[in-house]
């Protein structure tokens, strides 16, 4: 596929042949009219042959203009049929002719050439655009890259090209076009500068990381415009590979999410199924206690059954938080209701009389899911009571213009900075953290934040919830 040079030689021959033909015709036709008076008109007519030669390029056109000038001098300036020039007027005519002919020939040739370059660039751009379009929509990015590289290599008149895409040092796929042996050898050695001027290396990269190299073997020094085109092709390949990766990752993420939802449903089902036998165990223990008084073991059985039930509940909720399957059903609920509900729902763990509650008057109502907030507060109360030496917890509430802060505090060991930072981490052997992770997840689902605030004594967990400014309840 060596069409372009053939075309250039053809244009050179055609231009020169046209020029010679026109020059001979002009001389033959104009000879009968040659005279001192006609020399200006003849000079104009003699400009025509060199312009035809411009098709062969600027240098052939300049040579043609010079030769045409000499012919003009020999045939149309006195003394005729001799290269000598007799009069100063003839000298002027000859010089003017020569200058005009050369300038005109060169300008026209340049114009032709730039038009040809523009046409080639447009063709290159069309090829790159087609490759980019097919890459952007490709399901199989490797096949699209191979196809695109072959088409670009053909259009850019490359001898060969090799594109290698790697991930973590392992080759993911390669694309080859034409006689790619040399390019491939260079690509496998990592590309980069080389003494071989025919070879050029382009980086294939995502926005953040290198992905591979494109090495082209152009048979000659690569045209700068085409080098830019190849660089943009390499960039498009990088984006396409990244896009394909993102699509795949998203599909994997969605699959994981669905697995998570299934797991949560399974947990919820198991939690429900466990509830029945646990209730039965509790009831049996209570029955026994009525029949035969004085067995502290029965209290232990009930307490452990309750504890097991709470652990199951915590795990179901943690699964909901971790898989993002928390459903929020917002309702307008007074803040004090939330706190009192939590105390009632704690069902004796901690007992309501071991919680110091400070509920100032005039607390607003919040738009939250009361069930989720109740669970979050119960988790915080249980965490506080489990840390406090007296099994106590304190709840206080503060409000600002657009938020309500519920603080749950204990008087256990103060938390240092590292402990505060990891307070909500998924638990490894510390059951209280399950509750804290659940609390944080549920508070976040309600649009609030839960954090540990530094305190001199004990731990202070702060729940911040936004106050919506929709019209408050009518006071009637």
């Amino acid at each position: 596929m060596r069409q372009v040079p053939l075309e250039a030689e053809y244009r050179l021959l055609l231009g020169l042949a046209g020029w010679v033909f026109l020059l001979v015709v002009a001389i033959v036709v104009l000879l009968p009219f040659r005279s001192e008076a006609n020399v200006g008109a003849i000079a104009l007519a003699m400009l025509l042959p060199p312009l035809v030669a411009t098709g062969a390029g600027p240098y052939p056109a300049a040579v043609a203009a010079l030769v045409s000038g000499l012919a003009f001098n020999v045939f149309f300036t006195k003394p005729y049929n001799s290269p000598r020039i007799a009069s100063s007027a003839s000298v002027a005519a000859f010089v003017v002719y020569l200058v005009i002919a050369v300038i005109a020939a060169v300008i026209v040739a340049r114009l032709r050439e730039s038009r040809a370059v523009a046409a080639r660039e447009a063709a290159d751009a069309a090829v790159l655009e087609a490759a980019a379009t097919s890459l952007a929509g490709a399901a199989d990015v490797a096949a699209a890259v191979r196809d695109g590289l072959v088409r670009v290599a053909e259009a850019f008149d490359l001898r060969g090209a090799c594109l290698l895409v790697t991930a973590d040092g392992v080759e993911r796929f390669g694309a080859f076009a034409g006689d790619s042996a040399t390019a491939e050898r260079h690509a496998r050695s990592g590309g980069g500068p080389t003494r071989n001027e025919r070879l050029a290396t382009f980086q294939v990269a995502t926005l953040s990381a290198p992905l591979g190299v494109l090495v082209t073997d152009s048979g000659q020094r690569l045209d700068p415009d085409r080098a830019r085109g190849l660089a943009s092709f390499a960039a498009v390949v990088g984006l396409a590979v990244e896009r394909a990766d993102l699509v795949r990752e998203r599909a994997a993420l969605r699959a994981a999410e669905q697995r998570g939802h299934r797991r949560t449903r399974l947990f919820e089902g198991v939690g429900h199924d466990l509830r029945t036998p646990l209730t039965a165990i509790k009831a049996e223990a209570a029955t026994l206690r009525v029949k035969e008084a004085g067995h502290p073991e029965l209290d232990a059985i009930e307490a452990q059954a309750d504890r097991l039930a709470r652990m199951v509940e915590d795990l179901v909720d943690l699964s909901r938080v971790e898989t993002g399957s928390v459903e929020v059903r917002r309702e307008r609920v007074p803040v004090d209701d939330l706190v009192l509900e939590a105390l009632a729902a704690a069902a004796g763990d901690p007992p309501a009389d071991r919680v110091d509650v400070d509920l100032p008057p005039g607390l607003p109502a919040l738009d939250v899911d009361p069930a989720l907030m109740r669970r979050a507060l119960v988790c915080l109360l249980r965490n506080a009571a489990s840390r406090d030496p007296g099994g106590r917890a304190g709840v206080s509430i503060a409000r600002s213009a657009d938020a309500v802060e519920i603080r749950v505090a204990d008087r256990g060991a103060a938390l240092d900075e590292a402990e505060r930072a990891h307070a909500f981490d998924p638990p490894a052997g510390r059951p209280a953290n399950v509750g804290l992770a659940v609390a944080r997840g549920f508070v976040a689902a309600n649009g609030g934040t839960l954090r540990v605030v530094p305190a001199d004594e004990g731990a202070v967990f702060s729940v911040q919830l936004p106050v919506s400014h929709t019209p408050a309840a009518v006071r009637t």
């Binding site: 209730t279 009525v290 009632a344």
Partner: protein
């Protein structure tokens, strides 16, 4: 010790059925059992028990359908529903159950509610006396220990709802229907907010009566000092 009653226990879970039966018998009641909704309806019609304990986790046509059929021929029979999902408990109360116990219920709570439910006879008359709270429905006055309790009209209507059914769990929808005569509050009004206001008024009036919260289900008006949460 409370009076012996005949109680029908309905659950399709043998463990629950057996345990509840044992608890009731241990506390001096007589217990019958039914494992399906159909059996429960038949047993209610035939044996006329004093109360029904209905497990909301009942399979088949389900506990709510059993409740509907029982209510179709006996509107006054006390029915206590046992912990399902919170929303289901609230629905059962709205559809005519008298009381509920939520999971994890304690035996003492179950017996207490069974007892107050059977004993409860709504007071007819112009003045409802509940512990130290007196509600004059006609004169629209509320008094705590003889002192006037200042309430807004809506707070008063709410207190009437509570005082009419003391020691009973009332869902927000039931209270809304009681105050505004329809299941949805007017725009901008929220029964929870009014309950919260009424609770605070009772506290400020130093009433022994209080409004306790049944998490996720509703509220309960508790006369007397024993149940202040």
């Amino acid at each position: 010790m409370t009076a012996a009653r005949r109680v029908l226990v309905v659950s399709d879970e043998p463990g629950i059925l057996r345990a509840l039966e044992a608890i009731l018998v241990a506390h001096g009641h007589a217990a019958e059992t039914a494992a399906t909704a159909e059996c429960a309806v038949e047993a209610t019609a035939a044996a006329r028990p004093d109360a029904v304990l209905l497990d909301l986790a009942l399979g088949g046509v389900g506990a709510l359908e059993a409740l509907r059929r029982i209510r179709s021929f006996d509107a006054a029979l006390p029915v206590l529903v046992i912990g399902g999902a919170e929303a289901l408990e609230a629905e059962a109360l709205e559809r005519g159950a008298d009381e509920h116990v939520s999971y994890p219920w304690a035996v003492s709570q179950l017996l207490e509610r069974l007892d107050s439910m059977v004993r409860d006879v709504p007071t007819k008359g112009a003045v409802l006396a509940r512990g130290d709270v007196e509600v004059d429905i006609v004169g629209r006055h509320a008094r705590v220990g003889g002192r006037e309790l200042a309430l807004t009209p809506t707070q008063f209507d709410l207190l009437v709802c509570f005082a009419a059914r003391p020691n009973r769990t009332l869902t927000p929808r039931m209270l809304t229907a009681g105050v505004w005569g329809r299941p949805d509050a007017p725009a901008g009004a929220n029964v929870r907010v009014f309950v919260s206001q009424l609770r605070r008024r009772l506290e400020l009036g130093r009433a022994a009566a209080s409004i306790a919260i049944e998490p996720g289900v509703g509220y309960r008006f508790v006369p007397g000092a024993a149940n202040a949460a």
